[in-house]
Subunit: 717 residues, 2 copies
Amino acid sequence: MILSALLTSVGINLGLCFLFFTLYSILRKQPINVPVYSPRLFAERKTQQQNYFNLERLLPSPGWVKRAWQPSEDELLSISGLDVVVFMRMFVFCARVFTVASIIGVCVLLPINFLGNQLTDDISNLPTKSLESFSISNVNDGSNRLWIHFCAAYVFTGVVCYLLYYEYNHIALKRIAYFYSSKPQPHQFTILVRGIPNPAPSGRTFSQIVENFFTEYHPSTYLSHTVVRRTNKIRSLVNDAEKLYRRLGHLKSVNSHQTSKRDGCLGLFGRKVDLVDHYEKKLEDIEHNVRLEQSSFAGEEVPAAFVSFKSRFGAAIALHIQQGTNPTEWVTEKAPEPKDVYWPFFSASFIRKWICKIAAVVVCIALTILFLIPVVLVQGLANLDQLETYLPFLKGVLRLTFVSNLITGYLPSLILQMFLYVVPPIMKAISSMEGYISHSQIEKSACTKLLWFTVWNIFFANALSGSALYLVNVLLEPKKIPSLLAAALPAQATFFITYVVTSGWTSLSSEILRLIPLLCSYFTRLFAGKDDNADDFEVPCMPYHSEIPRVLFFALLGVTYFFLAPLILPFLLVYYCLGYIIYRNQFLNVYAPKFETGGKFWPIVHNSTIFFLVLMHIIAIGIFGLKKLPLASSLTVPLPFLTLLFNEYCRKRFLPIFKAYPTECLIKKDRENQNDPTMNEFLEKLSTAYQDPALMPVQYSRSDDGRSTPLLQPLDV
Amino acid sequence: MILSALLTSVGINLGLCFLFFTLYSILRKQPINVPVYSPRLFAERKTQQQNYFNLERLLPSPGWVKRAWQPSEDELLSISGLDVVVFMRMFVFCARVFTVASIIGVCVLLPINFLGNQLTDDISNLPTKSLESFSISNVNDGSNRLWIHFCAAYVFTGVVCYLLYYEYNHIALKRIAYFYSSKPQPHQFTILVRGIPNPAPSGRTFSQIVENFFTEYHPSTYLSHTVVRRTNKIRSLVNDAEKLYRRLGHLKSVNSHQTSKRDGCLGLFGRKVDLVDHYEKKLEDIEHNVRLEQSSFAGEEVPAAFVSFKSRFGAAIALHIQQGTNPTEWVTEKAPEPKDVYWPFFSASFIRKWICKIAAVVVCIALTILFLIPVVLVQGLANLDQLETYLPFLKGVLRLTFVSNLITGYLPSLILQMFLYVVPPIMKAISSMEGYISHSQIEKSACTKLLWFTVWNIFFANALSGSALYLVNVLLEPKKIPSLLAAALPAQATFFITYVVTSGWTSLSSEILRLIPLLCSYFTRLFAGKDDNADDFEVPCMPYHSEIPRVLFFALLGVTYFFLAPLILPFLLVYYCLGYIIYRNQFLNVYAPKFETGGKFWPIVHNSTIFFLVLMHIIAIGIFGLKKLPLASSLTVPLPFLTLLFNEYCRKRFLPIFKAYPTECLIKKDRENQNDPTMNEFLEKLSTAYQDPALMPVQYSRSDDGRSTPLLQPLDV
């Protein structure tokens, strides 16, 4: 690829981004789009009535940038919680790293690369220059200038480690401060106990066993417990009831729309009222079944219980010390927030859970390694010749140059992209089968899985461009990895630069435009004639498990290409600066937190950055060897070990803070609440906090519809 | 090697063993040898007076075998503690494993190997048959008989895993029972706190800081604390004093012997009395210095303290929950028994300790990998030609056939053995620099190090017989390991069989004969004219760190050669049966426990057995491949994974029990002691239990010598 082609591509994508931003700034001012662009405000009914039309609504304005930029970190913390702050710190951290990297890369390394003449000695015509001449490949073999690259690797590693330390420290302090400032919450006082011993020999229930055990061994702190019950059956019944209720509501609204003479696509047939009656009867039947199941439910206890304590420290004691003499019984873990509990998990026993976990790991590794095989097969089918064979009637169309270009040029990558879109839900499904007890843990686990998946299937598969089994073979010969990577990566630099510009920048602008929710909202309004209602409106939540790996993948590109092809760095810097503004805007307006882990996503960011650094060092060792500077190659060997030592230190220094709160904090918080008169009320509520929603009373039928006034209100611009 | 040669070697070694046992059974009956063969009884003065001479004393008798066999496991437990029981269980476990293995190996595999004709088709003359024809090498390539080996590998793995599970369970139960039956002990109520924050800003001492912290956060359970002080200087002074005192005592005894007209080698000069005076003055000076140092010691506190609690559960709470917000401060760990504390460790800070640990690991790995290089170099010097060059005056002697045979045949292995004898102390020294706080932890760590060292330098170095760096290269190409091992190991079978017979059996008989202590005792009596005295007599303690790796190494040989060369198995069975009797005898008579870890050595045995199994599987994969039975090779692949899964299950099921005691046990024990009237007294003593011995009052000079009546008493036979 030549420089001018890159600049063209950058220009086009920059133009697209501005177009998207302009569109966004207009669309978001339309009252009808409030549920799409400001669902948080819509759900909280904070949007003011402003139905009159004005010209300003049709003009793009940069006001949203200012509003996204303005709130301080503490304000963001109070609005959206610590997880959001941690997510934004990831952008701040990456922006800082790539600012430093850009300065070193563009001011020092780029000129040195450019002045080499390994590839060509013609420096006259800049625009037609191959991008390769900006990469390390252009430096002469054995040249002493490579020592500058060597120093740059050390300096860059030092800077990144310093920034990592700084961020880890900053977030750890924030986490402690967040805990100190928190109100008493059920999950602080509760633990989950699994593996309750079988009560059959003593003829008692699980509930009695738990009661006995904790009054025996934690007499002064034990408060209450809720034994978990097997509710799969009820849950499916309740789901059926909910579906029926929705359909019923829809039918009724169609009826009401007809009387008020509005268009309804489905409101043309005569059987409607009968249908409503029929559904209502069915709903009543189901509700009756649910109530029956709920009442006849004594025998269905699961050997797991949420046990609540009178103080946070009491819960911590039971959490941290092994309870029974058999370590597979009375297994304790922190309870998640009540709304964060993933209820379907509880049916599995210790052994079954453990086997599920192993199976999940195996499936995940197999999926990661073998993912490319089906993709390549399907892409093979998309070849022109094969298409013509299978679908002969397309022959005429396929012979057109434009169509054939489109198919050969875009179809393969389109298929890859489509497959990639399927992966995050699959990973989440695998994680949820692993027996995690909360949505947050599932997302965290899926996040790690997806990160490895991305690194393997986008980075390694593209860089080494071999079959999956060839890649596995490479891993089995660790000695060859540095030279293999060093030989393959510089050639892929241009591909990854365009990847940042096209995939990275575009993903940001499509994130802010929310094209799919926008279209969905139009289509539902158009076809179903359904108005949005703030009551049963669900605010979307941030899919951390797919977003964090995507953002970190660009950091991987930046870190590994830092001294191979520094040209990539300014584009990354732009990506992170843009991302900072855009995600801030989204958190303030769109996404509501579904759970609060207290910043537990940060260790993933930290660990993967360390991995990227070590990968960079391995590549450096390989490339100095290829460039015939063996001394530099050997002198780089300590660098990964030093980095891993640094990581080990950070693990000791910070990781425990992210695992549990220390005695000091717990007791201080407990003392603070001791004289609080509202504590008694809170402790009373605690015993019912962890109630399975499937066991809540159900009442859908004959309920008041009450949807007469649609709540669409325009946003103040 | 042919069969008859092996039988000769076995015969010779068997004869040697019986000779040693006969010698032992005579020597142990001599009253003068009581301190060598029954130091435990000697120290406890349990040996009865029996000075009259009888003929029985000169006749060998097998009574000691019966006495060693008789005590039950519970009796052994009460006499010597749980660690000894665990050590003996290792022999029981190995004996069981190799009984099963011998039955399968000798009855099934050996005939199959022998009936093959890959190596030779002459089965007429048994005694001149090569030992190779009993190994798997003799089975024809691609023969279906190899499936029997395949089945044997599965069956053997199953049996070993079952036995492992059984033993782990047995020892875990024993450990809990041992805790329940124990009296209140200081280390159950105490934790060690390191990384006490710097008190300088507040102007307080470490002691005050500790007091404040624990009265603040553990008000109901905190009892007292002892801040550790830097005592290196005092300790060296006390050591000096002790040496002087011994020399003085020796001088005085020489004097007294002279007056009582007994021979003394050194008692012939006139300056003695002056010397005594001189030494006594010097001793007084040193003692004065010690007292000065002890009193002027306020400023030398170390940021570490032993903190005692009123209950075991109280100590466990402080132990298991992170205390301060900074995880590198207030680091807690279990306190060792007071006599087990390794006092010199305390001077290091968190960071320094951590760096020491990393350095120790690096040194240890380097020593393990590069050990063979100096050995080979020194062995090279032992070549005849080089010896002649360096020491020309030996030329005449070296030309004698006998001498040259000796030097070329035995010197290299002698040098290797001598180097090997130096390794256990070196490993222990490395471990003690790692910052462990107790002798038991140091021995445990040294034990693991030595185990890897032995596996690497005896097993791999002999099997693959290449240079150290070649071996490291092998490790870097993991794909080749199975076939390399499979090709190399069968050839080494005869070497390892003779190794078991010579090194294994001989080490046992020399263990029981205690040749070096015997000679030492004779020489000190002969030259120093010193009588043993039960007062300052030190009972030897078991060097677990060198014995466990040695015993386990033979298990490694047995497991890996189980289906390669089953001929090794009966010899191993003999080794373990002999070892069982001999070590029982030693524990009852010779070794006194220096510390009690409560069976914490067992996980080492378990983990290494798992490693041996996996190694066996890897070899099996390789050998089935070499023998052209690729299907068996592929079907063996799941076996290591299943074994590792089994290990993972055991880790979850049993390991936590070996790390700490659960709430259930702690609270039961605490309740038991609640109404005990002696507890108050015990708790009072607790506050001074962890006093550095260097800070104890010193009084050597002018002390009463009181050694007039030597306490040599003959043993009842």
